[in-house]
């Protein structure tokens, strides 16, 4: 029905854009024009293909040919050879990294797609408020299979064999956790879904609950069958109103269909799920604190053991898993442990969802096999750093994680590698930092969060983090001394060693990793009283360059504290003792005469 018989798609992603995609579009159009093909072939600028390393990319439709590293000069060849004569331009095809053979068809370029959607298999495809759409994509088949064909022990074995580790942060084996909960005998047991997503920059759980709530419900029922529980609870923060709404709808629909409730699939197994709302305290993501909060108590952690698998909600054996952990379960059951464990690295199986944020071009929600490198995530899928700036670091695992630098870019991401590098997987937030970010300020920012969110129960976390934050503040203000860096480190280690729960045990991670990876920057703050990134206000000095200043008085007039003096048509001067570094003068100056030192 289209008047066009062929489409040329040119990648207009930011990274390709920088390397002349506009010029490519122009020259392709010129060539088509010259050959009188403008009415039958259309050139289109698209979003990022996620293959920036080989960009700019041109895709020919309908035959799905992908050309890589295309230059504007190649337009003539593409039009003359491919469009007119129907012959593929071999030299522009992607060469298979293994066989060195050129690959012509994007359908067979699996490696070209870095992402693999397991947890996000339905997100963005189905209407989350319609259970039929979930069923059409094999929804509740896994529950059916488990209830009719498998014993609880077999299910646990399958999950154990899959090698899946908890996606909430700590990376404990899911199957083992289920096994422990199964072994503890009790008249009542509980399955809890931890949807208390609190890391700044993390939104994968929200996305799953908003996009595919049934996958979590189904997995919770599977877990209930495995451990011998009839009741499930989802602990979700009240700040996620849409996720709550869609969960409510999903639970009601599942009940109507008899997929939750009594005698599911006529097997005698009964399971139901209710929601519990949290008030949005970060510490309630810790499982013991979460359980106390559900019981109506203060959201404070308690010492483990006893683990929730022994005495959890209402003192009964309880299994707590994260949203993402659950969402993968139906796929593991249907496709098998072997399939799941074939993805990923030796000790971290499957895929991981990451929320990519910060100074990156393609901010988004991505899912990659474990073992993908940070470089692939940032520069391929993420499309590189915004505004062509230089990559400086990436904070993984939110405020509990560490900041990894350039030297870690080729580290395959998995639980153990991240720990070895001084960070953690955490929930999967990834915040990308560029050359303009100050690593002392960043550490201070994350500490500010943990100080706010510390429940205050144990002294190392309550007092220690506060002191860490103060020290970092002093360093930012130019009042730090070299010995402070050792104090930062020592105090961090003590907090890690002595805190009661995961919050305090991980909160110094940003400080430690940044000290480790950006030590020179910390030294610059305390010895030279300089902030190399130009972020710490107290360490900045606004100066007028006498060569550029024409004495127009614009800066002096806009200065709110009258720190600038000078006669008309003569060079002006900023008094650093009065200057509050608001930056108003820089914005006003038309002669680029004011700079920050």
């Amino acid at each position: 029905m289209s008047k066009y018989s062929m489409h040329l798609l040119v990648c207009g992603g930011t990274s390709c854009h920088a390397s002349e995609s506009d010029a490519i579009v122009c020259s392709l159009r010129d060539e088509l024009e010259a050959n009188g093909l403008m009415d039958s072939v259309q050139v289109i600028l698209t979003g990022c293909f996620g293959f920036c390393e080989k960009g700019p990319i041109v895709k020919v439709m309908p035959d799905n040919t992908i050309y890589v590293k295309v230059k504007p000069e190649d337009a003539q060849t593409i039009v003359e050879e491919h469009v007119i004569k129907g012959r593929k331009v071999t030299r522009l095809l992607f060469k298979d990294p293994v066989t060195r053979e050129p690959v012509s068809d994007s359908m067979h370029m699996g490696f070209f797609k870095k992402q693999l959607r397991v947890v996000l298999r339905n997100c963005g495809f189905i209407n989350p408020e319609n259970i039929d759409e979930y069923i059409a994509r094999d929804g509740y088949q896994a529950l059916g299979k488990v209830l009719t064909e498998m014993t609880p022990e077999e299910v646990i074995k399958e999950v154990k064999d899959s090698g899946q580790r908890g996606r909430g942060g700590a990376g404990f084996s899911t199957g083992l956790k289920w096994e422990l909960a199964r072994k503890n005998q009790s008249d009542e047991k509980y399955v809890v879904c931890n949807a208390d997503e609190g890391d700044p920059g993390a939104f994968m759980d929200r996305s799953v609950l908003e996009g595919d709530p049934h996958s979590v419900l189904e997995a919770m029922a599977i877990c209930g069958y495995s451990i011998g529980a009839a009741n499930g609870l989802i602990y979700i923060r009240a700040e996620y109103p849409l996720a709550i709404e869609r969960l409510k709808i999903a639970i009601n629909q599942a009940r109507e269909y008899g997929l939750l409730g009594n005698n599911i699939f006529g097997t005698g197994f009964s399971f139901d799920i209710i929601l519990r709302f949290g008030a949005g305290a970060f510490v309630c993501g810790e499982e013991t604190a979460l359980i106390h909060s559900m019981e109506g108590l203060r959201g404070e952690p308690t010492v483990k053991p006893p683990f929730p698998a022994e005495a959890g909600y209402r003192n009964k054996p309880t299994n707590v898993n994260n949203v993402e952990t659950f969402a993968a379960i139906p796929a593991i059951i249907l496709k098998g442990a072997q399939w799941f464990s074939s993805i990923g690295t030796e000790k971290s199986k499957g895929t991981k969802v990451f929320a990519l944020a910060g100074k990156i071009n393609n901010v988004g929600l991505i899912e990659v096999p474990m073992g993908t490198t940070l470089r692939e995530v940032i520069f391929e899928i993420g499309g590189g750093i915004r505004n062509g700036k230089k990559f400086k670091g990436i904070q993984t695992g939110g405020p509990s994680g560490g900041c990894l630098s350039e030297k870690h870019l080729d580290t395959p991401i998995d639980f153990d590698n991240l720990i070895a590098a001084g960070s953690i997987m955490g929930s999967g937030a990834m915040i990308v930092l560029d050359e303009d970010d100050c690593m002392v300020s960043m550490a201070k920012f994350f500490l500010e969060f943990t100080v706010e969110e510390s429940c205050g129960k144990c002294a190392p976390c309550r007092i220690g983090n506060k002191r860490l934050h103060e020290l970092l503040g002093q360093i930012c203000d130019g009042k730090g001394i070299l010995a402070d860096l050792d104090r930062l480190k020592n105090m961090s280690l003590v907090i890690k060693d002595t805190s009661l729960c995961g919050l305090g045990q991980t909160s110094p991670n940003p400080v430690l990793s940044m000290l480790d990876n950006y030590y020179d920057e910390y030294v610059a703050h305390v010895t030279d009283k300089k902030c190399p990134a130009g972020q710490c206000r107290s360490l900045m000095e606004y100066v007028i360059n006498p060569d550029n200043c024409v004495g127009c008085t614009a800066c002096a007039r806009v200065c709110p504290v009258n720190a600038i003096t000078g006669e008309r048509k003569e060079v002006h001067l900023i008094n650093p003792a009065i200057c509050i570094k608001c930056g108003a003068c820089i914005e006003k100056c038309k002669f680029d005469a004011i700079f920050i030192r």
């Binding site: 289209s2 979003g47 996620g50 996305s207 249907l334 496709k335 991505i366």
Partner: protein, 132 residues
């Protein structure tokens, strides 16, 4: 809706849905345009609701047989609002940065005439097939 009381029931139900006797789904309708709007919190915050209303209203007004549904996050935060359009017998196409102007273009050019318009987001991931 009657209860699903056995695994066989569930399988039957799925087949019904696939055949199109159930509610509309990506797998069934042959002769109808399907528009899915990414309506997670973040999509809605960047204007997805307006876009969804626009498509519902305008497709009807312009006599295009279509069904407009909401879906969850497609993952392209940088390009919100995002929509997916599936023309009959065609592969679905995702468009990003959909404002009202682009929405209008999508209806007039892509949906009505099959011409691609700028803002396409290429599929950059692999999916799994649970049946395999």
């Amino acid at each position: 809706m009657s209860k699903i009381t056995s695994l066989a029931d569930l399988i039957k139900r799925r087949e019904e849905i696939e055949k199109g006797t159930g509610t509309l789904n990506a797998t069934n309708p042959e002769n109808i345009v399907q528009v899915k709007v990414a309506m997670a919190t973040c999509g809605i915050a960047s204007g997805a609701k307006t876009i969804m209303e626009f498509f519902s209203e305008q497709l009807e007004r312009r006599n295009v047989a279509a069904v407009v549904t909401q879906t969850g996050c497609m993952g392209y935060c940088y390009a919100e609002p995002t929509i997916e359009v599936k023309l009959p017998r065609e592969e679905p196409v995702v468009f990003g940065f959909v404002d009202l102007k682009r929405a209008d273009q999508i209806i007039e050019k892509y949906i009505k005439a099959g011409e691609l318009v700028d803002g396409i987001i290429p599929v950059n991931y692999q999916t799994i097939d649970l049946k395999a």
